[in-house]
Symmetry: C2
Subunit: 122 residues, 2 copies
């Protein structure tokens, strides 16, 4: 599967979540941001702002594309974006659960992120 | 001062920091990332990876440009990027310390982020 397709999937999933979150909010200075750095292949979803006198600032999702693979650096969702990507047809080997220690990734059923492992993306 | 100039300053300050941080590191899976979303005007510096069996993931700096002003959403630096921007000649009125409550910003000497306040950027 082509890397360009991976970029599309990631942007789609993050945008949908941001849209859903925005529909649920009406606080004046609160927003769910999508941050897409297509040049460096970093993709984020984060919430930022104020709800009354409570500060909100945190990353919900952070994904990178490196060497043709999708690296999930942070996932604060319940469904697990890795599962959604697999549903889209992304091979597990092309998904790295980077929040797991490098040594244990071989037992996750997903990619390890080691450079000797080849990507299935063309 | 033009917004395009603000974008340039932010990218310059974040890139310099990322460069300095990278020079100090040689762990295999650790990096300081710059995330520049120029379409939505979100700019981040974050550290991500592993040092031995310790996970590193966190935002160092997050800035937005909204309505011609620079919103500092998060600043984990000692020097304070607001001060660096002022040194570049950015008027304090065009900098919003968004991590302070909206109500107290009028006492910070910087912009409040209220829409009735006009930006000096052309």
């Amino acid at each position: 599967m082509a890397v360009e397709q991976y970029r599309h999937y990631i942007r789609q999933l993050l945008s949908e979540r941001a849209q859903r979150a925005s529909n649920q909010q009406n606080a004046q200075e609160y927003e769910v941001q999508t941050v897409f750095d297509t040049e460096r292949d970093h993709y984020q979803l984060l919430h930022v702002g104020w709800r009354g006198n409570k500060r909100e600032f945190g990353c919900i999702l952070h994904l990178d594309i490196k060497d043709g693979k999708i690296w999930i650096q942070h996932d604060g969702t319940e469904v697990g974006i890795a599962n959604q990507l697999v549903e889209f047809g992304v091979p597990k080997q092309d998904i790295v659960l980077a929040f797991h220690e490098p040594e244990v990734r071989q037992f996750t059923g997903f990619g390890t992120g080691e450079s000797k492992e080849t990507s299935l993306a063309s």
